[in-house]
Amino acid sequence: MLLGTRQIYILPTRHGLLFTLVLVGLALAAINYSNALAYLLTFLLASMAIVSLLHTQRNLLKLRISVAGGEPVFAGGPALFRICLHNDSAARYALRVESAHGVLAPFDIPAHDTRCVALSVPSVKRGWLNCPPLTLASVYPLGITRAWSRRLIPPARCLVYPKPADDAHWQTAAGIEGESRPGVMQDGEDFTGLRAYQSGDALARISWKTLARGQGLHTKEFRAPLAESVWLDWDAFAPHAAEARLGLMCRAVLDAEDSGLAYGLRLPGVVLETDSGAAHRHRCLEALALHEIHA
């Protein structure tokens, strides 16, 4: 986005109105005493105010603005937008980036240079968070005139992952205590065998595969250490509402990644094969974030 003359407005600030009042007072004194130098100084002040309008406008003119969404965040956390101002000519001073989320500290840009600032926007819900409308403003050089840009709506967005379920939810959702996790099916070489399900067995140890094959409820038994590969399945969280389910699955992804497990994700229409690492974690969380969001 390039700021042209049509995108910039200028008006006196409150200090500018005060300044005008003083000018009127000075003019009255000059007229009353018909004092040439008092006239001259009054004219000089007025001229300086007029000239400063140009400086104020030029401080914003022809600035290029680019905004990039920052790293994905979990809902509720601050989403960062990186706002870069590219200056193709003389230095700019005391630029202020204003948005509905407050005003950033004023900063300068040297000639032919670029400065980037981070705007932090609180995220509320998962999905895409669009960069809020921005206004670029400056009261340079005298503080008596303010130039500001038209509301800029940058085409930048930031991905917001679902908020991971907190411990309390996590445990209630599981309905059980201990290390086990709901909907987590462990699957590895350390698997020792199946036994008949007894009430009280961890949900995580139910052999879903045998159940799916119609062979009845079985509980898997493992030899320590635990298996290294799990599947996170949308249907396994069935008793919970959709958003809560996504929160639980998000938590499951994080925990699986933290425990060094390989994990796969099964969502309606999306299947991510078991894997691990930051990129996989991101793919999983992105899938969760954008579940049933079309954009």
């Binding site: 409150r14 200090h15 005060l18 300044f19 003083v22 007072g25 000075l26 009255l28 004194a29 000059a30 007229i31 009353n32 005493y33 018909s34 004092n35 040439a36 130098l37 008092a38 006239y39 001259l40 100084l41 009054t42 004219f43 000089l44 002040l45 007025a46 001229s47 300086m48 007029i50 000239v51 400063s52 140009l54 400086h55 030029r58 003119l61 022809k62 290029r64 680019s66 990039a68 990186r82 870069c84 590219h86 193709d88 000519s89 003389a90 001073y93 005391a94 004023p106 300068d108 032919h112 980037c116 009261v139 340079y140 050089p141 005298l142 503080g143 008596i144």
Partner: protein, 675 residues
């Protein structure tokens, strides 16, 4: 935004760090020239408050609490009212502003308080000009102005360096000058005050009095103050013609001379030369008389011609006044009216026998009036008369005492004695006072006439010639006329006895050494600058504005149209500024150009560089997507980065970069063509 105590504190800390010291400094320097005029107690209060503020900045002293501040404010305003009897006008107003500024320093909290203080300082700068318009003050206050503006800049742009703020203030000032000039020339000037002017505005002005007593002109002879300046459009009159007539004194009581009951005199004359035109610029004297060369040809508006061909303003000259005049220095008059003759022969009741005898002797021996005049001048020259700046005091009959006892006198003694003698011989005569001579300033082609050039001489009526100037002082001390009052004074100060020295010796004594000459030149150049300043800046008023507009072809412009014209001119100047400073998209340098070419080539293959993407990140991304291009992409990027940020032989490497980019032709992949 809500102003919680924390945000207030932060705002104050920010403003104080940016401009706290600057504001205090600007306040101190702007008030320095005011201090001698302020009451002593107020100066003491100001010093105390400023010192307190200084320690608030330096040692984090606390500000006095609100109760103290209010009490102090009320007490100060009350004391100021007692001192001046008012809170308005120049004197009380400036004292009040100074006190307000110092009090404001005790409660600086918000950015607005700081800005308000800056505006108060601007006000005090302007008030300084209401007291004096001397050039040094202008330079000083202009420096204060720049400092104050820099303070405002530091408040608006926190964190600017001192040099930057000062330079920006100076730049703004310089850019404002053309606009200021336009406003100066075109802003409608009003005549007269909106409210009362100070009563004492005109006290202490020096000038000729309309009464001449022995010693009255001598009082002026020590004052180097400028009485007026005369710019000649063509040639200057020779020194012997530089008699500036201000007053014609007809009536005497034996001791003093006054205009008395002026006779209605004929104003008819026959000019004998072409008129000499000049611009006369008078300094304020609080007197109406206008010293002009001999016979003024025209009578400018606002002035009138009095009996004896002297010009007088209709009101005392209280502001610098410029008049276009012209004069005939050679002329003839034919008739002397009865009333004029009577007035020109009036004598005091008592004239001593010695004086009458002397007059009778001349009358008896001379054949004509002109010969009587010559005899009188010969008498002054032949007898032991002296010209001195310290004449002895004279008693009840000064003319007799001077002529026969003391014989030492100043121009007024000689003029009075001469005219008394002439009237005793029956020749109509009158005393003329004014100025004689003047210092030529080659820097501006004008004469500077000072109060010390004040002079008195005589005029006698000679049949067939009319009123003719006779300067008896010139007979005793021709040096007075030749070297001017100042030269004469310097000669007398060295103890030279006039009359006995050959002219070469006198000239040698008056010659200036190198240092003195340099000083004189500097003084004259300064005076020329000052005069131009007076003429175009200080003396610019409604009349001059009308004159200027008429010269530009605008006759009788209504104030409102003048404002329109001014707005047009301001818009024009601003338009010129916009054009002059328009930001052209800078032409990229060869290195940048080559790199942008490279980026364009990659973009054609779907690898568009994001605006925020650095060169290295971009190269990495390209290499990941197009492993086949990894080698050239990295080579070009490395070269580019080295040219940009490294130290390298710029010319050959730039050519190398251009060559590599030119050869960089990424092959189209199948997926590219599909996508």
């Amino acid at each position: 935004m809500k102003s919680t105590p924390e945000t207030l504190q932060r705002e104050n800390a920010l403003a104080e760090r940016a401009a706290g010291h600057w504001l205090l400094g600007a306040a101190v320097v702007v008030l320095l020239p005011h201090v001698p005029r302020l009451p002593v107690w107020l100066s003491a209060v100001l010093v105390t408050l400023f010192a307190w503020r200084f320690f608030m900045l330096l040692r984090a002293w606390p500000a006095p609490n609100r109760w103290w501040r209010w009490t102090l404010t009320v007490v100060l305003v009350f004391l100021l009212y007692r001192q001046y009897g008012t809170l308005f006008g120049r004197d009380a107003g400036s004292a009040l502003l100074a006190a307000m500024l110092a009090l404001k320093f005790m409660e600086l909290q918000r950015l607005r308080d700081y800005v308000l203080s800056v505006l108060l300082i601007y006000f005090l700068i302007v008030i300084g000009f209401l007291y004096s318009q001397a050039m040094w003050l202008v330079v000083y206050l202009l420096a204060v102005f720049v400092l104050t503006t820099a303070t405002l800049i530091r408040l608006a742009v926190p964190g600017t360096r001192a040099r930057f703020a000062l330079r920006l203030a100076a730049v703004l000032l310089l850019q404002a000058l053309p606009l200021m000039l336009a406003m100066h020339l075109l802003f409608p000037r009003l005549q007269g005050a909106l409210w009362g002017l100070p009563q004492d505005a005109y006290a202490g002005l020096a000038g000729l009095s309309d009464e001449m007593r022995p010693g009255s002109i001598r009082e002026l002879s020590l004052s180097e103050e400028v009485a007026f300046r005369a710019h000649f459009h063509a040639t200057l009159p020779p020194p012997a013609q530089r008699y500036w007539r201000a007053l014609v004194l007809w009536t005497t009581d034996g001791k003093s001379w006054t205009r008395g009951a002026e006779p209605r005199a004929s104003l008819a004359y026959e000019p004998l030369d072409a008129p000499l035109s000049y611009l006369l610029t008078l300094e304020p004297s609080n007197k109406p008389w206008l010293p002009a060369l001999d016979l003024p040809v025209q009578v400018p508006s606002g002035t009138r011609l009095r009996s004896g061909f002297v010009l007088e303003a209709r009101a005392p000259v209280r502001e610098r006044l410029s008049l276009e005049l012209s004069a005939h220095t050679r002329y003839r008059m034919h008739t002397l009216g009865a009333a004029e003759r009577r007035a020109a022969l009036q004598r005091p009741e008592q004239i001593s026998a010695r004086v009458q005898a002397l007059a009778a002797h001349w009358r008896a021996t001379a054949g004509s009036d002109a010969e009587v005049v010559r005899a009188a001048l010969t008498h002054f020259r032949a007898e032991k008369f002296f010209y001195t700046l310290e004449p002895p005091l004279l008693g009840d009959d000064p003319v007799d005492e001077f002529l026969f006892e003391t014989r030492r006198g100043f121009c007024e003694h000689y003029a009075a004695a001469f005219v008394t003698l002439m009237r005793s011989t029956g020749i109509p005569a009158r005393v003329v006072t004014g100025y004689q001579g003047g210092e030529y300033n080659p820097a501006g082609n004008y004469l500077i006439v000072r109060q010390l050039d004040a002079h008195a001489w005589a005029e006698v009526w000679l049949p067939g010639q009319g009123w003719a100037r006779v300067d008896p002082t010139a007979a005793i001390a021709p040096e007075r006329i030749e070297y001017g009052a100042d030269g004469l004074r310097r000669l007398l100060a060295r103890g030279t006895l006039l009359g006995g020295m050959p002219p070469e010796a006198l000239r040698a004594m008056l010659a200036l050494d190198t240092f003195e000459r340099a000083r004189q030149q500097l003084r004259l150049s300064l005076d020329a600058a000052n005069t131009a300043w007076q003429r175009w800046v200080l003396g610019y008023n409604q009349a001059r504005q009308r004159e200027l507009l008429a010269q530009l072809g605008f006759e009788d412009v209504a104030p409102l149209r003048l404002v329109g014209l001014l707005a047009l001119l301001v818009a024009l100047i601003m338009g010129l500024y916009v054009i002059a400073t328009r930001q052209r998209a800078p032409r990229p340098d060869p290195v940048q150009r080559a790199y942008l070419d490279f980026c364009r080539k990659l973009a054609r293959h779907g690898l568009l560089r994001a605006p925020h993407e650095g060169a290295l990140d971009y190269a990495g991304r390209c290499a990941r997507h197009r492993p086949d291009l990894e080698i050239p992409v990295h080579a070009i990027t490395d070269l580019y980065l080295r040219l940009r940020y490294g130290s390298t032989d710029a010319r050959t490497d730039t050519q190398e970069l251009a060559r590599q980019v030119a050869q960089f032709r990424p092959a189209a992949l199948l997926s590219d063509t599909k996508g």
